[in-house]
């Protein structure tokens, strides 16, 4: 790993960009998926589901370069990549958000309503906390694939860790490619651990009941 040590600053800069370009779609896509699950009529769920699984099938490079023709953005640069990755996150989070909320036990919701909770209170204090394990599980899957897919953005000129693959291949430096692989893997693991910890912190009752048993 002599190459990585010599170019540490550069690798760190690319890693930081990589993290940013993965986090933005994760937030945007999840919010979008949540809004779709929450605010679209049940009748449309099937259509949205089919559309999302079709979009999910499209190779990311094809979306990166097809977006300019559809929405008129510039061919190069991070905008298309962030939009495309957000759509992928939304496509996968749509299903996990839907399942996470449908797993909330109906009796719990009825009791909360009978206790006089307003729809907003019901959502904040009952539905959302009980859906968190499912949401976190979905986010962990989405985060892993987003972090690895973001590297393809380097082909359309985004300066992230994917650049190490292109540059390493052109300049015939295997260490550079391996550094990129390792760095992306580490970012993925770090995000996974972060989300797991977030899930634990947001659902303290799960660990407390586990201790009692």
């Amino acid at each position: 790993m002599e190459w990585a040590a010599k170019n540490l600053d550069f690798v760190l800069e690319l890693s930081f960009n990589h993290l940013l370009i993965s986090l933005a779609p994760l937030v945007l896509g999840s919010v979008f998926a949540f809004a779709l699950v929450r605010f679209t009529p049940v009748k449309l769920t099937g259509t949205i589901g089919t559309t999302f699984s079709a979009i999910y099938a499209v190779p990311s490079l094809a979306i990166f370069v097809a977006l300019p023709a559809i929405i008129g953005t510039s061919y190069l640069g991070p905008t298309n990549v962030v939009i495309a990755l957000s759509v992928y996150v939304a496509a996968s989070m749509f299903f996990s958000t839907r399942d996470a909320f449908s797993q909330v036990p109906k009796p719990t919701v009825f009791i909360a309503r009978a206790q006089g909770l307003s729809p907003l209170q019901l959502f904040v204090h009952v539905e959302l906390p009980l859906a968190i394990p499912g949401l976190i599980a979905g986010l962990r899957v989405a985060a892993a694939s987003t972090v690895s897919m973001a590297s393809i953005g380097a082909i359309v000129g985004v300066r992230n860790l994917g650049y190490l693959f292109l540059d390493g291949f052109q300049r015939k430096i295997p260490e550079e490619i391996l550094t990129g692989l390792l760095a992306i893997f580490l970012i993925g693991i770090a995000m996974d651990i972060g989300l797991w910890a977030l899930g634990k912190a947001l659902t303290p009752w799960t660990s407390r009941s586990a201790q009692r048993v």
Binding site: L61, A62, Y75, S148, S151, I152, F165
Partner: protein, 226 residues
């Protein structure tokens, strides 16, 4: 700049469909690379998945492989293999990378398909005196078919999108038009090629999703017990 008319002209120009780098040839290359890799991965992963599901040994391995594989960028894996094995063996290296990408989802599909068969049914088959091979042939395979097709569907999506990057290491496939279009700022070629890629991937996904539903329906509406 670029317009829909230009895209239409590019797609309807026969010159863009024929020859070594014509869409027809690139399409065949793309599909061949995908199917060959999926077939090799299936031959390796299906028996292993069945064995693990049946015996219950090595389960943690399957889970570890499938969650670790998601965090590895397919692009980097392909580039690293071509680089390490040498550019002259790039065809072999790319297929190897694609097989490596396809194995985890197929393995997970086969394993969880067998695993999700109710223990009563598996024990029932054994109690009837079926040999292990008969159990797999008459009980395991039919009942886990939907899950196995599901694994192939995920593998297909991963492999088709990775083949798009094959031109970067000197192979063909439909990505050629995208990479060349980006380099030459030929936006009609770029968008036209992307469109064909979209058609290929969505058609395959729809076909496999339908196969998954059919195999599932065959189970729930089977003549058994009627």
């Amino acid at each position: 700049m670029f317009s829909i008319g230009e895209l239409f002209d590019w797609l309807t120009d026969p010159e863009n469909w024929t020859g070594r780098y014509g869409l027809a040839n690139l399409f065949v290359e793309h599909l061949t690379l995908t199917l060959v890799s999926l077939a090799i991965a299936g031959l390796l992963a299906i028996p292993i998945g069945i064995a693990i599901g049946q015996s219950g040994r090595g389960e943690t391995l399957v889970i570890a492989i499938s969650s670790a594989s998601r965090a590895i960028p397919t692009m980097g894996l392909m580039f690293a293999l071509v680089m390490l094995m040498g550019v002259e063996f790039r065809q072999f290296a790319v297929v190897l990378a694609l097989v490596g990408i396809a194995i985890p989802p197929i393995l997970a599909g086969a394993y969880s398909g067998i695993k999700s068969i109710p223990i009563v049914i598996r024990e029932g088959a054994r109690a009837q005196g079926m040999t292990t091979l008969q159990q797999i042939r008459h009980v395991g395979l039919p009942l886990s078919a939907p899950s196995m097709v599901g694994g192939f569907k995920i593998a297909y999506l991963q492999v088709v999108s990775t083949v798009v990057l094959a031109p970067l290491v000197g192979l063909g496939g439909l990505g050629f038009g995208v990479i060349q279009g980006l380099a030459l700022r030929d936006f009609a070629q770029l968008t036209g090629s992307a469109l064909v890629i979209v058609l290929l991937s969505i058609t395959g996904e729809r076909l496999l999703a339908r196969a998954q539903r059919t195999s599932h329906r065959r189970l729930t509406h089977s003549k058994i017990g009627r």
